[in-house]
């Protein structure tokens, strides 16, 4: 009872600290708008997203088609409203995978230290030179672009960054007195990791995860843009931009609408994550300069 009420007041305090920052409030509004849109879109969209019509091709915005139609006569508004779900869900899951394995690896390395830590960090450093986009594209082409493949591959690639963050956060905690006390009490390693270290770096991991989500969206939409993400005819912002790009002179709205939707979504996540970081007192720039 007491514990829940402190947790609640914590949430309220953090939410307040986010909302007093203009960029945080703006980000949160954009984010909430997009999420609401994604939830209600399947019910309220005016047309079938895949319905093609030869007579309705290249129509400018009108009262029947608020954002016009594309090169196949499909309603742009419908497709823009539905175009974010696949990307959002896939990237949320991929981010979860990334933060989960990154946290386990990073915490272990930070806690154990020594040769294990040294080797681990060397490996992560050298992986910075890997052309990851090429790697992901290769996997997507050979194994197919099933969501589960993309989730695991993106999760693997991004986990490296999470591991770095988790390790740095753990190193900061590991030399503190309460960890020594726990060790002196003879607590097993897993208990120390879970009950002493985890609660102290949870916020860092959460904010990092939110930031990762926005980068992940960037990547996923790039893959879609290259035709390796969502399979047509399912609408996806990246794919829509790629298709409409060929008709940019004729129907700029078909490219502009998904471009604005995708950009605002990513910026919204980014601003919110940044504001949460500031509200929780996490200095992200410190980690970035070294990265």
């Amino acid at each position: 009872m007491n514990r829940t009420s402190t947790a609640l007041s914590d949430v309220r305090r953090v939410a307040k600290a986010v909302l007093v920052q203009p960029s945080g409030a703006l980000g949160l509004v954009i984010l909430v708008f997009h999420v609401l849109m994604m939830v209600v879109a399947p019910i309220v969209v005016p047309y079938d997203y895949a319905a093609q019509s030869a007579s309705d091709m290249f129509l400018p915005p009108s009262s029947a088609h608020w954002l016009g139609t594309d090169n196949l006569g499909r309603d742009v508004l419908t497709r823009v409203m539905l175009g974010g779900q696949a990307a959002a869900v896939t990237t949320v899951l991929a981010t979860t995978v990334a933060v989960a394995w990154g946290a386990v690896a990073g915490i272990t390395a930070g806690y154990r230290g020594g040769l294990f830590d040294e080797l681990f960090m060397r490996l992560i450093d050298s992986f910075q030179a890997v052309p990851w986009l090429l790697f992901v594209m290769l996997i997507a082409v050979t194994l197919g672009n099933a969501p589960i493949v993309l989730i695991l591959v993106l999760g693997f690639c991004y986990g490296l960054q999470s591991a770095r963050v988790a390790r740095a956060a753990t190193l900061d905690i590991v030399a503190r007195d309460y960890i020594w006390a726990a060790k002196a009490r003879g607590e097993p390693m897993l208990t120390i990791l879970w009950q002493e270290i985890m609660p102290n770096i949870r916020n860092v991991l959460l904010v990092d995860g939110a930031m990762q989500w926005s980068w992940m969206l960037l990547w996923f939409s790039s893959l879609s843009f290259l035709g390796l993400g969502v399979s047509p005819p399912h609408p996806d912002w990246g794919l829509m931009i790629s298709d409409a790009r060929l008709y940019l002179t004729v129907i700029p709205w078909a490219a502009l609408a998904p471009m604005i939707a995708l950009s605002t979504f990513i910026i919204g996540i980014n601003l919110t994550a940044d504001a949460f970081g500031k509200a929780l007192g996490i200095d992200r720039s410190a980690g970035e300069a070294g990265a």
């Binding site: 060397r122 992986f127 030179a129 890997v130 090429l134 790697f135 194994l143 940019l248 990513i266 601003l271």
Partner: protein, 316 residues
């Protein structure tokens, strides 16, 4: 200095080995092996079996990796079985085109980023420092293909100031490439500038808040001298590392933007190689990209070491 250089070169080489090994393993482990990819769908069972035997005759994967590395060191990256030409020959002209594009973009982005970044740091919390981060945020978060498409829409289609999407063959001479380079270079420069400016700003702020700058001010050194003598030289040191990383990204990364503009660089070659499952070429490109990254960061590290008097005394 020599010891540091040697250690740094060793780390660079080890990185290259790790990266190529990872790519080699994943290329070998993926389904749809080289044989079915190179012989195509019409391949007969007999031809496939012969091809597979030929490959397994070359020894197990460890042996093949060592062989590949040994010949890669002599500049022989194998043969592209889709293009029927050596991988190195397919890579060279594209690499050159990419280098031209990246250099033009870097020439625009880095001077601007340094000037604006320092300016934003000096005029903290004034209009400059509020407007620029907004621009930075857009440059950093908006996907590169979105900002590139936007650039084409506004400057090529609506205003007609810039040439649009380039339609030049990959082996075109540089005289044909340069006129159409403006739009992709600007798009790349915008993104690169956003990242660099942000870092330059934070480096400069760090130095501005350091003790020796306070000390200099307390001694009554004129502000202009403080900035030129104390702040800039010290802030530019970490900036070298950031600029090097950004240049490596301009060369090796941002594949998508090169696809947007249909620019005959490494980006389009990568796309072709991957969609054709031209595995030797994919491996060659990956190795080249990794080598670029390692080389650029190596040069930057050595440069920073040579320029920073404080690092020289460190012995370990």
């Amino acid at each position: 200095m020599l010891g540091f250089a040697l250690r740094r070169v060793t780390v660079g080489l080890a990185t290259l080995v790790a990266v190529t090994l990872l790519m080699f393993l994943s290329v070998s482990a993926l389904p749809g092996d080289q044989c079915s990819a190179s012989l195509g769908r019409t391949a007969t069972e007999g031809a496939l079996a012969r091809c597979r035997q030929e490959i397994s005759g070359q020894g197990n994967i460890a042996v093949r990796y060592v062989r590949w590395t040994a010949s890669a060191m002599t500049g022989d990256l194998g043969t592209s079985h889709v293009r029927k030409e050596p991988v190195a020959a397919a890579l060279a002209p594209r690499l050159f085109n990419t280098f031209v594009l990246a250099s033009v973009a870097a020439g625009i982005a880095f001077p601007l980023a340094i000037v604006l970044g320092v300016l934003a740091a000096l005029r903290r919390d004034q209009a400059v420092d509020i407007g620029l981060p907004t621009l930075t945020l857009i440059g950093m978060t908006v996907p590169e293909f979105v900002s590139a498409t936007m650039l084409v829409l506004v400057f090529s289609i609506w205003l007609g100031w810039l040439p649009g999407i380039s339609m030049i063959p990959p082996d075109a001479p540089i005289s044909r490439i340069l006129p159409v380079i403006a739009t992709p270079a600007l798009a790349l420069a915008f993104i690169s500038m956003a990242h660099t400016m942000r870092m330059v700003r934070s480096c400069t702020i760090d130095v501005l808040e350091s003790c020796y700058v306070h000390m200099a001010r307390l001694r009554g050194v004129p502000e202009r001298l403080v900035v030129w003598r104390h702040v800039l030289p010290n802030a530019m040191l970490p900036a070298i590392g950031i600029i090097a990383l950004q240049f490596a990204t301009l060369l090796a990364g941002v594949v998508v933007i090169k696809v947007v503009f249909n620019y005959p660089g490494l980006g389009r070659l990568t796309m072709d190689a991957i969609s054709n499952r031209d595995l030797p070429l994919v491996l060659g490109i990956a190795a080249t990209l990794a080598a670029i990254y390692v080389a650029v960061t190596l040069v930057a590290d050595l440069l920073m070491f040579a320029l920073n008097p404080r690092l020289r005394t460190v012995r370990s």
